[in-house]
Symmetry: C2
Amino acid sequence: MDDYQELARRVRAQGGRMTPQRQIVLEAISALDGHASANEIYEWVAARAPAVNRATVYRVLRFLCEANLVAPFATDGVMLYELVGARPHHHLVCRGCGHVEPIPAQALDVLVTALCREHGFQAELRHLAITGLCRECRQ
Amino acid sequence: MDDYQELARRVRAQGGRMTPQRQIVLEAISALDGHASANEIYEWVAARAPAVNRATVYRVLRFLCEANLVAPFATDGVMLYELVGARPHHHLVCRGCGHVEPIPAQALDVLVTALCREHGFQAELRHLAITGLCRECRQ
DNA sequence: CGCCTTATTGCAAATCTTTGCAACAAGAAA
DNA sequence: TTTCTTGTTGCAAAGATTTGCAATAAGGCG
Ligand SMILES: [Mn+2]
Ligand SMILES: [Mn+2]
Ligand SMILES: [Zn+2]
Ligand SMILES: [Zn+2]
């Protein structure tokens, strides 16, 4: 888990307040080691702070995403949440073996450059999940 | 709307059956001119076939997506549905003006090639929604 | 055209997610 | 530390999506 003071500072920088609920949700995401669903996060939180309401977990997740402390990321319909770390990255999700491979964000710079050149569009690619077949599953 | 016989054939090719419910959902997506939400589709259907149940619309949409007759596509949290057309494409969604610009799928070939070369990963990019800023909104 | 098999539907109940509102409490200011 | 403002929370109710199950009907076969 990152430093509480630093997280509180970043929450207040958004005009928000640091609360026990926001703190424990951050702990949950950290403890669940990235890529946790809203329900998994709620279960983790409820196990140690039963008073925290489900609706609050949803609202906290939305807030943390907007505050850019947490990154949401959709894998075929399911929303997962991950702490925004030092290095931005994306994911290669193999539909064969289910393996999830993180790749540095600059691996997609080639696309960003092309879109900018061809369409004048400044793409903001954050924490994508790209599905396909990994090297092994391609035989 | 595409030819009913052809659609029915493709449904049966999946081991499925063509029903009035599936037919009218396809009509709805077509009439709504692409990019319709589950609720918009349900409203359209309910207006002319009130007996069709909401749960059925959800199940039909899932079936059509798996049968590859319809492509789902997420724009910040909301799932939209579109008929799979002749030419595969993606979308550039501007977060400034909200404009949605379709681009041919091969615009992303540069990325597919790079991922294959760098990671041995065969990406399957289908009907993506890429957010960012369009030329005008960048000033 | 009937008869079967079984995929599909409607319904109701279960889940998941959002929202309105009054009570609460974080944190800035005194 | 006490006060005050207003962002947050819990709760309950609404809305969205999924699921179990018995009844229905698509379509292959005679
Ligand atoms: Mn990640
Ligand atoms: Mn499209
Ligand atoms: Zn694999
Ligand atoms: Zn724009």
